[in-house]
Symmetry: C2
Subunit: 146 residues, 2 copies
């Protein structure tokens, strides 16, 4: 059975589900930073998914990426499957701006996470979930943050 | 017309072509680090590829990833499309070991690139190209390094 890795559960908010993947928002206000986690137990690498699941992950990633670039007017997207600390397959989607605190470096290890304000958090979630509505994404019932 | 970004051309060796993507080897012996570059001019994000090209990139990435994990006995793969400095779409495939110089951190910014020895370079290329042979990959004529 699929269970979200405890580090991902602690460091992000669970916003809802695409057909294959859970959508998380990282608790780091330095960047709009979303994470897709295919709800498949025991998978650590993209190539370990079945062919249909691979295609579904790609579709969900591209949909999310396009939405993020549009709603945040991103200068660049950074998309990455790393997993050195949390082996459960998860795909980072990080919105980058050419004036963000880490630009142009990759974000990892540059600055500590920054807390969201409630209004900033609400705004980010509304922007993204609004744009995803009607596109096969199911918002988690009841316990969204903010 | 497709032309490899000069930074990628300077920092890597061009090994050959999958049907969609060029395969590069990064000039950094700290990690076996391969890069796929779809030969599509003007594309910066995966979602900007057409549907067939997206699927082809995924297939090439998964084939490469599985080969890399097998031939290097990787502890983890790091796969990433960043592009903050080089906007031309390129997909890093980095073989990670739990005793490499950056582990468990992402590799960027941790240590400077390390030169390959000729024998180490030859061995890496032979391992990967050998495993890719007969799988739709076409080795570049004549001017491989090493």
């Amino acid at each position: 059975m699929f269970e979200l890795h405890p580090v991902l559960a602690a460091d992000s908010w669970y916003l809802g589900d695409f057909p294959l993947s859970a959508l998380l928002l990282s608790k780091d206000a330095n960047y709009p930073w979303f994470i897709l986690v295919p709800r498949q137990p025991g998978v650590e690498e993209i190539y370990q998914l079945g062919e249909q699941q691979r295609a579904q992950l790609l579709e969900e990633s591209c949909l999310l990426a396009e939405v993020l670039q549009q709603v945040f007017q991103a200068d660049k997207l950074n998309i990455a499957a790393l997993g050195n600390v949390v082996p459960q397959l998860h795909l980072h989607h990080i919105v980058r701006f050419n004036n963000d605190v880490a630009w142009p470096r990759p974000i990892w290890g540059v600055v500590p996470p920054l807390d969201y304000s409630e209004s900033q958090l609400n705004q980010s979630i509304e922007l993204v979930l609004g744009a995803l509505s009607g596109q096969g994404f199911r918002v988690l019932d009841g316990d969204l943050p903010g």
